[in-house]
Amino acid sequence: MASSSPEPLYVPGEEPARHFGPDDLVWTAEEQQTIDGWVAQYPTADGAVMKVLWLAQEKFAWLPAEVIEFVADTLDLPRAKVFGVATFYTQYYKQEMGKWVLDVCTCFSCQLCGGYDILHYLEDQLGIKKGETTQDGMFSIQEVECLGACGSAPMLQVTNGPYVHNLTPAKCDTLLANLREGKLPGFESVTLPQDEAELDGNRRSDAEVIEQYVTPPVSATIE
């Protein structure tokens, strides 16, 4: 089964489509002040590039070519370098995304625990493939690398926000139904076994636990 070679995101030398005009591409005085503060934190402006890209994504919802250029020019960095950073992280959206972005992890642990099953289940449910957005602009699916929650694989992240752990098809259905109604899943605490008692099952102080993940007894696991 040979597939044809994919196209690059932007063809070198070809003028990319523009989505924001020069009037949009300005920082407010407040934003500029924040950026200056970040730049001052590091020996060179390179250090601030991720924070500024994040700020830009919050402002413009995604990062088309002109926004990446805008960030590069703000920090006086080579455009190719900022483009390289922006494309490295799946959390920076290089395409216009739906309201809810489902970042399904298919890295090693999730893959072994059925990450691809979850990915394909969601694709079937929403009628789109990974990297696509539903017609109604509600959902996008991305296949992402490890999000650091291997203990509760398979998992996904909703729009760079809450994690949904220990996924099953039933859990996916609930998630999609809730998201359609605009309800984000709450914070699910997954503490390390040794921390459960100490932190009272919650490793965050800024969020309320909706469900507590309990480590199965060791002997039961072994059996």
Partner: protein
């Protein structure tokens, strides 16, 4: 001096030496892809892994710890280390793949990893035959592939810029190309895009890779991911001969290799010379390869007595040139030297002028102010102006020449390898009534229509000779492609292809096509001089330089001494 033990042998090193470079310098081959001596070492290909240990010291006393037999205790690092990023320290013990099975296994495994998503398209890849990945996979790699799955597909045939094409699937992400644009040319045009198994180098959105030195990334690329657009699918590297030479582009004297197949120059690549161009050359200096193949003359031409103009044979043409020179006084002739011709040819021209009693030859300057970049592209478009200066030739005084031509004072103009009409120095009216003898390299030479005798001269890729670059470095030209008439010195120094060396009489690789009917200046000028009663005593360009090397201006610059990297000449006035 501090010492390091590599594979049970002790070597002395200087502080600051990098282990991988040190191994290369002493002749130990450690496989590597991302390391390049001119750039930073990110250690991201992981191929140069070696085992490294340092002498143990007692924590309390700081004294070296000793084994019972008196040898120092060596603490080996728990994991293999990339030798490109390790500065050698005193007493360090290194095990390379030559002496340690773990290192050998580590390198094999790493190569297997690099090859997992690498397409097996060597048979159609331009890099095959000169590919570090291919070579090192043979030498240090696994026997076969265990990967039975669909390989990752990435974009192919991306035109990164006017001269460079990217095949992202072949890329192993060594980042040599991105480091070249950020550290050497500082245009920052390339960056690694995307992550994991999907990453490859590309420009920012909408940006073309139009760096004037862009094609150096094709030389740097250790796989076939970045290739020169002009050379794609033109020839396999083993079918070509590769001859070291000097670029005719500008007066920097860039050291190059000329790649020739079927008597045509197909490719020019930079040759390492740390005193001149290091490892680099500008794109424009590569793209002049066509000038060696196209619009070349088909033998001598002359104006016959009946007024007709047509091809002549060499003897006729020499006779005619000698006849023209013999018929006038020495003061009525003017000989124009050339910054495009070699030192040897210009020297012979000066000898001829002396014999004729003509005024000292001058050369035509090709300087275009402001066209250089203070690096490898120079304002001077000609390669050998400095050589002419050192011979005592002066830059042409065009106004004086024009007035002497206008007054009818000059009857014969002898032009060595240049084009005064095309350069706009002389016009058709100036040459009215003047007999012109021209050594030309191209049929597009605009002085050619006015020549009474035209003798095609061999170009820098066909002759033997010396160029002196703007910094006063004498460097040698070697014949890279055959001409119709091969003299023995040329035959001796011709670059050979693999087939030339290994082919049998049954292989049909010889090609007589594309041979230019031209003569090197050091063969043509003595022929004319001999007909004028001056027997030139040199038996080839090497003996001319042997003589010139005795003078201050060219002290020590014999062909032998120049070798492959040239001889820096003393800074003297303009005199022989």
């Amino acid at each position: 001096m501090p010492t390091v033990t590599i594979d049970n042998q002790v070597y002395e090193f200087e502080n600051g030496d990098v282990l991988l470079q040190f191994c290369s310098d002493i002749g130990i081959e450690v496989p590597h892809f991302c390391y390049h001596p001119a750039m930073s070492a990110p250690a991201n290909c992981r191929q140069c892994l070696v085992k490294i240990g340092t002498p143990a010291r007692n924590r309390a006393t700081g004294e070296p710890e000793m084994n019972e037999d008196g040898t120092p205790v060596i603490n080996f690092m728990p994991k293999l280390q990339p030798s490109c990023a390790i500065a050698i320290t005193d007493g360090m013990v290194v095990h390379t793949q030559r002496s340690d099975d773990i290192v050998e296994e580590g390198q094999v495994d790493n190569l297997e990893l690099l090859l997992i998503n690498h397409p097996l398209d060597c048979p159609i890849c331009d890099q095959a035959g000169q590919c570090p990945l291919q070579n090192q996979a043979y030498k240090f790699g696994p026997e076969g592939s265990r990967f039975e799955f669909q390989k990752v597909h990435k974009p192919k045939r991306i035109q990164l810029g006017p001269h460079v094409v990217l095949d992202a699937e072949r890329c192993i992400n060594c980042t040599r190309c991105t480091r070249f644009t950020s550290e050497i040319t500082e245009t920052h045009q390339l960056s690694i895009h995307n992550r994991g198994d999907k990453n490859y180098p590309i420009t920012a959105p909408g940006v073309e890779f139009d760096d004037p030195y862009s094609m150096n990334v094709c030389d740097l690329c250790p796989v076939g991911a970045l290739t020169e657009d002009y050379f794609r699918f033109r020839a396999r590297v083993w079918e070509m001969s590769k001859t070291p030479g000097i670029s005719t582009y500008g007066s920097k004297g860039i050291n190059v290799d000329y790649w020739v197949k079927d008597n045509e120059v197909l490719r020019i690549t930079p040759r390492q010379n740390l005193d001149v161009n290091e490892y680099w050359m500008p794109d424009a200096a590569r793209l002049i390869y066509t000038t060696f193949n196209e619009d070349r003359p088909a033998g001598p031409e002359m104006l016959f007595r009946d007024g007709g103009r047509g091809p002549a044979d060499w003897r006729q043409a020499y006779d005619a040139a000698a006849f023209l020179l013999k018929g006038v006084e020495g003061s009525e002739t003017f000989l124009l030297g050339s910054a495009l011709a070699t030192v040897e040819d210009n020297y012979l021209l000066m000898q001829l002028a002396e014999h004729l009693g003509a005024p000292a030859p001058q050369y035509l300057s090709h300087v275009e102010p402001g066209s250089g970049d203070d690096w490898l592209i120079t304002d001077d478009r000609a390669p050998n102006a400095q050589g002419c200066e050192r011979l005592g030739m002066q830059e042409l005084d065009a106004d004086l020449l024009k007035s002497r031509l206008a007054s009818g004072e000059l009857k014969v103009l002898y032009i060595l390898q240049d084009d005064p009409v095309g350069m706009g120095v002389l016009s058709e009216a100036d040459l009215d009534g003047v007999q012109v003898i021209l050594h030309h390299t191209h049929t597009t030479n605009e002085t050619l229509p006015f020549a009474n005798v035209a003798l095609p001269i061999a170009m820098a890729v066909e002759t033997i000779g010396t160029y002196v670059n703007a910094d006063g470095r004498a460097q040698r030209l070697r014949p890279a492609k055959a001409t119709r008439h091969m003299h023995r010195p040329q035959m001796m120094e011709m670059g050979l292809s693999r087939l030339d060396r290994q082919g049998t009489p049954f292989d049909r690789w010889h090609d007589e096509s594309n041979k230019i009917d031209c003569q090197p200046g050091w063969a043509a000028i003595p022929e004319i001089a001999e007909r004028l009663g001056r027997k030139m005593r040199w038996d080839g360009p090497a003996s001319i330089m042997d003589e010139l090397a005795q003078t201050d201006a060219f002290a020590g610059a014999t062909h032998k001494a120049m070798g492959f990297t040239g001889v820096p000449l003393e800074d003297v006035g303009e005199a022989v």
